[in-house]
């Protein structure tokens, strides 16, 4: 069973052109923790949401008729949170979050509801959830505690050029396609801004291969119309220290490598 509630405080986006991003409500608000007055406390995805909003704000500044915007949907399967759906909605309004609508779904219908809502990217802190939706063909990315420490003034997206961030999932042609088309739209958004002072930053990283695999990935991105701001070629160096400096809000693997494995 899926029910959708529109947020009347927020102007609805043009569904033909907007990029729909669904975020698990448990990532946006601390589950259970009650801030005073029936308002939820901020969750790890808060800076991420603010960064998405910042991009929209700047896009509209460049062109007030812009339709290529992020369309943010809050989605929950958590039955507890569903019972407190009004609290979810009121918390969202309290913080002035630019969430267009709320989706309440059961676990069984979850992936379906994402597909029905034309979700192009699903973000969650739940590893199982992300794995499941990913297998059903929805581009999904895992958020973790590091996401909370990311900046809120600039959306930082990391594209992995030679994968294996999630060694348990095998990239399917469908997931590759989803990653590429989402990133291409991101690339288009990026073009609306100049070289510096962009609210959106796209970074390419290759972990295992040498410089030629990174070069290949850069060319793949270019063919998709994506101009990366930053590029890192690790050639086997540990990712952790680099990621903690990079501070991306989320990573997308699959679909960007330029070389055949």
């Amino acid at each position: 069973m899926v029910s959708t509630v529109q947020n009347t405080d927020v102007k609805q986006k043009d569904s033909d052109h907007a990029v729909v991003v669904a975020v698990a409500s448990r990532a946006v608000f601390e589950p259970g923790a009650g801030g005073g007055d029936g308002v939820y406390a901020e969750g790890v995805a808060f800076p991420l949401l603010q960064a998405l909003q910042k991009v929209n704000e700047r896009l509209l500044e460049e062109n007030s008729a812009e339709s290529l915007l992020f369309d943010i949907v809050l989605i929950t399967t958590d039955s507890q949170q569903q019972q407190q759906s009004s609290q979810l909605i009121s918390s969202t309004k309290h913080y002035g979050l630019e969430v267009s609508r709320f989706c309440f779904s059961t676990e069984e219908d979850f992936s379906e509801s994402l597909l029905k809502n034309n979700v192009q990217l699903f973000l969650s802190t739940d590893r199982n959830e992300v794995s499941q939706t990913s297998q059903k063909g929805v581009l999904s990315a895992l958020l973790d505690e590091y996401t909370a420490s990311c900046p809120s003034e600039q959306l930082r997206v990391l594209l992995c050029g030679d994968a294996v961030i999630r060694p348990d999932t095998n990239p399917t042609p469908a997931s590759r396609q989803a990653a590429q088309s989402f990133s291409a739209r991101l690339g288009k958004m990026r073009q609306r801004f100049g070289m510096s002072d962009s609210p959106l930053s796209i970074t390419l990283m290759t972990s295992c291969g040498g410089r030629d695999s990174c070069g290949g990935a850069l060319q793949t991105l270019r063919s998709l119309g994506i101009s990366a701001d930053e590029a890192y070629c690790l050639a086997g160096a540990p990712q952790g220290p680099i990621l903690s400096v990079l501070r991306p809000h989320f990573l997308l693997s699959d679909g960007f490598s330029g070389l055949e494995d």
Partner: protein
């Protein structure tokens, strides 16, 4: 490609015969390398950062990007990027750090021969502020010059400092003095590299690194005495404290890292013709203030191959004789003097010398208090 019985083939500088090889690798592995026609020499894997001596170089010191730099300064970022992309297939020509990097690779090749399993090697990382759009041109250039650089960070304008730390960089070379200063403040050995007017030829098989003493290998404590109280007081002080080691300077750890690799060559009997040679080129004099310098090095367990005490004479001519791949000094006067005579000289913006006007260190007329 076929293997004929009894013929020997050379792969990566090692002689390889059909029945086996002179290295400790399994002979079938070597055979497989030989049979791959498109890759006659197998590309070695880069070492783990914690095992390697990591040298981070910026794009502008590794290559010559003068024209592009001009476009950036006069016409701005967008035109600069456009130009770079348009000329993507044109490799840059070598910059001042190029011969240094080639020498590092020569040392690596020799280390790999003697210690095939060891990761104690130089690892060169390209650390540039450039936008990823310039990436393909940089990669094409690295390929063109056949450099062994597999790791890079193109930070798109963000500070490189965090990445230097992530790579445990042992040395950072850049054309930008601000970044170099930042790195030094974070405890990373760093220097601003300048392009000499002409480049004297340097060895392709022996890495030569020359250091100034005070405020480079050693702290600037003695220089402070000189600046505040003059030459005579300086001599007195150094003689009196001959047996008290000086405090360490920003490049001490880099000398230490070089020493560690040198010892590996010594262990294999290569002391006299070691592929790494270090030099101390100081304005101190052998007769007096030099002793404290040598004793300090000894107390640190560090060796330097040649110590040249110039007693105030200009460093340029001496360096021209030595022909180091790189020379570090804290005073622009010496850096410029060296560059004029064809040495690749780098400025270490550390210590008291940064706060006084640039003059010859032994200019007695200027023995006034620091500004």
């Amino acid at each position: 490609m076929s293997l004929n019985t009894g013929q020997s083939l050379t792969v990566s500088g090692q002689d390889l015969t059909k029945n086996g090889s002179s290295s400790s690798r399994a002979s079938w592995e070597d055979a497989r390398t030989v049979l791959k026609p498109s890759t006659p020499t197998r590309k070695p894997k880069p070492p783990k950062p914690e095992n390697a001596i990591t040298i981070a170089v910026s794009a502008r010191v590794l290559f010559t990007m003068e024209k592009e730099q001009q476009i950036y300064e006069q016409q701005g970022m967008e035109d600069y990027i456009k130009y770079q992309v348009e000329h993507e297939t044109e490799p840059f020509s070598p910059g001042p750090a190029f011969s240094f990097v080639k020498a590092l690779e020569a040392v690596n090749a020799q280390l790999r021969e003697l210690y095939p399993e060891s990761e104690e090697l130089f690892d060169v990382v390209l650390m540039t502020n450039n936008h990823a759009n310039v990436g393909l041109r940089l990669i094409n250039t690295i390929n063109h010059h056949q450099l062994f650089i597999e790791r890079f960070c193109m930070t798109g304008g963000n500070s490189p400092i965090g990445y230097l730390k992530a790579y445990h960089a042992n040395l950072y070379l850049s054309a930008d003095p601000i970044k170099v200063r930042e790195a030094l403040e974070e405890g990373i050995a760093a220097a601003t590299m300048f392009t000499p007017e002409k480049m004297t030829e340097v060895s392709e098989t022996q890495l030569r690194v020359a250091f100034d003493g005070d405020a480079v290998l050693f702290s600037d404590e003695s220089e402070r005495i000189y600046k505040a109280h003059g030459l005579d007081k300086f001599f007195e002080h150094e003689k009196a404290h001959e047996n008290k080691p000086l405090d360490h300077g920003p490049l001490k750890c880099f000398l230490e890292a070089l020493g560690k690799l040198q010892k590996k060559f010594y262990a294999k009997g290569q002391r006299m013709d070691c592929p790494i040679r270090t030099y101390l080129v100081t304005a101190r004099s052998a007769a007096s203030s030099g002793t404290r310098a040598l004793k300090t090095l000894r107390s640190w367990g560090l060796e330097i191959d040649e110590a040249l005490f110039l007693a105030g004479a200009p460093k340029g001519p001496m360096l021209e004789k030595i022909r180091p791949h790189i020379f570090f000094d804290d005073q622009m006067f010496h850096v410029e003097g060296a560059a004029e005579m064809g040495t690749v000289a780098c400025h270490v913006p550390y210590g008291i010398a940064q706060r006084v006007t640039k003059r010859g260190i032994w200019d007695k007329e200027t023995s006034s208090a620091p500004k």
